[in-house]
Symmetry: C2
Subunit: 198 residues, 2 copies
């Protein structure tokens, strides 16, 4: 089967979905407004209730708000220059890590990244519900983060998240401004859902 | 830092979260009620709008309903015996696969499993919203699934999902009945959220 020859994309939601899923988008402009501790607690509480393989819960987070400049700067320093262009305004930075092995037997947990993805998806929808924007970044330096934060080898830094209330696109550098309001786009379901074998 | 010496668990939701996140649970008893095509479409549409690294959308699904016994049986045959005990009643089976490489350059996509985890998290919350139960299984045979469904090496089978409306615990074998109504349990946030370096 050659799916890719027939890939279609669209910007439309084409079947009924949760309003939060329909409207979530990873934006880059942050308002100058801090995120309260209670709100931060709800973000991680949402992550906490994700399912995971053997209920291992292999997720781990280090976060800092702009009110904690020393720690925030360490996280920010691990972000790559392209993402620093806009993440510099994020009032909350979160480094999401995966625990590599199972607690019960020390074996490699092949589901760790998958489960972390689920936890961060829950966190992102919780954020959307509370009026926050989450922008996940693969564009950061895991080794630098490990060094700056003295992270144990048990954990793998997987993604950095910039979180905050939405600002104005006018804050952004010209090269990012157009992206900020561009519609989201995805392959249509026909490209990735099959009701038969290959 | 030795977090694990101090691990606490609780069954309580300890900060406000979305109702769907607060109540979602992976159960095993399925009612004898089929899942409509429109509902199936909404499940995959929810997955479709997950975020992904470079908007690659590395998720791929093969599904079958019990009304399609030939295909459903192929998926079911790839489930391990322990999970077959209860998954045999699931009206909808879904094999979730990750595309291993990026379309644009053929390089290995290190985020593929992570992004699939996010897509399936969206799917699971959409299911919860529609009154469906999703139970993800790592306990299946990926190689057997590849063989039975003629799956290309481009894709890695990552998780099998049993989906359907909730049935009664009395349908379940005794060893699973107690689990069905046991409260969900998680580490408390203190065990996995840090507001400092290690």
């Amino acid at each position: 089967m050659e799916t890719h020859a027939t890939f279609q994309k669209s910007t439309q939601v084409e079947a009924p979905v949760l309003e939060l899923i329909g409207k979530r988008k990873s934006r880059r402009a942050y308002a100058d407004r801090s995120v309260s501790q209670g709100t931060i607690d709800s973000l991680f509480e949402a992550a906490r209730w994700a399912p995971s393989s053997n209920n291992e819960q292999p997720w781990f987070y280090i976060y800092a708000t702009k009110e904690q400049p020393e720690l925030w700067n360490k996280l920010f320093e691990a972000v790559n220059p392209w993402n620093q262009l806009w993440a510099k305004e994020a009032p909350l930075l979160v480094l999401a890590l995966a625990r590599k092995t199972f607690h019960k037997n020390g074996k490699i947990n092949q589901s760790a990244r998958y489960d972390l993805g689920a936890a961060n998806a829950f966190l992102s929808l919780q954020a959307t519900e509370m009026g926050l924007n989450v922008h996940q970044m693969g564009g950061f330096y895991p080794e630098k983060a490990k060094e700056l934060l003295n992270i144990s080898d048990e954990y793998e830094p997987v993604v950095m998240m910039a979180i905050g209330y939405l600002g104005s696109e006018d804050q952004l550098p010209p090269e990012l401004k157009a992206r900020e309001n561009a519609p989201r786009e995805r392959h249509t379901r026909e490209a990735f859902v099959m009701n038969k074998g290959f």
